[in-house]
């Protein structure tokens, strides 16, 4: 209780603890991906809001800015955005289900090797489904962007 009275509750490991891949399994990879894709998508969104604002400066401004994005690298970047947004959405839905208790399994007696029942095949399947959907969306994006 004494700890709660302190004003400062600094995380001892900080960013190092956040990035540490040991001691955890696929759930840790999913935790990273959810955050990395989230930050990446927010950066893209801010850029997209700025990019679309050029339209108010007229057709020439719009088309000259659009030329910057209509390149091979621009398309590859968009495919990354498609993959990131699909993973973030699918894994986010899994996390919402988990938060309300769906897919956690029932509590059991802790036996050796003490694997938590909450980190079960349903959770792992959810992560794999998010990765597969992400790959499929990226493939579809590739056919649309490079298929013209």
């Amino acid at each position: 209780m004494k700890e709660l009275e302190h004003d400062s509750r600094n995380n001892l490991e900080g960013l190092k603890g956040w990035l540490n891949p040991s001691r955890y399994g696929w759930e840790r990879i999913s935790y990273w991906f959810q955050r990395i894709t989230g930050v990446f998508l927010l950066i893209y969104f801010i850029g997209h809001v700025y990019e679309t604002s050029t339209i108010v400066n007229g057709q020439n401004a719009w088309e000259s800015f659009l030329e910057l994005t209509q390149t091979v690298w621009g398309h590859l970047f968009l495919i990354m955005v498609i993959g990131a947004s699909t993973f973030h959405s699918a894994n986010g839905i899994r996390l919402i289900f988990t938060h309300v208790g769906i897919g956690l399994g029932t509590p059991g007696r802790p036996d050796y090797p003490y694997n938590p029942s909450s980190l079960n095949y349903r959770q792992k399947s959810g992560i794999w489904i998010a990765l597969i959907l992400s790959a499929a969306a990226m493939y579809y994006g590739f056919t649309v962007l490079f298929g013209e």
């Binding site: 004003d7 600094n10 900080g14 809001v49 679309t52 339209i55 108010v56 649309v144």
Partner: protein, 118 residues
């Protein structure tokens, strides 16, 4: 010392989930609007301007702007609060993310209003 907040973290988390789920639907409509015509044509100036003059689509764009801004900056707030916890840090991060959310919504809304009048 008990801290007084406008919203509990559990309530903010519900807002995070609701904005996330709602964003999936409105972004899906936004992407469909790019795919009902050839992708290249969907980026032409006249087509984009016609989108901004469609009231239904303007509503979708404004919804995307508000939902993703709230969801995105709250996500950043959550990440930063996971890294470090003390009252000064938490207050600073909260103020900065709320300010950034308001600024981005205002800038995007300006584009929607001006493009609607073109």
């Amino acid at each position: 010392m008990e801290r007084h907040r406008m919203l509990k973290e559990s309530q903010i988390m519900k807002i995070h989930y609701i904005t996330g789920i709602a964003a999936i639907f409105v972004v899906a409509v936004h992407i469909l609007m790019r795919l009902i015509v050839p992708f290249g044509s969907s980026l032409e100036y006249d087509y984009i301007i016609s989108n901004y003059k469609n009231i239904f689509y303007v509503f979708i764009l404004e919804s995307i702007l508000v939902l993703i801004s709230i969801h995105g900056f709250n996500g950043i707030r959550i990440i930063l609060l996971e890294l470090r916890q003390n009252n000064a840090w938490e207050n600073m991060i909260t103020i900065m993310t709320i300010s950034a959310t308001i600024a981005l919504i205002a800038y995007g809304t300006r584009t929607i209003i001006l493009a609607n009048g073109l």
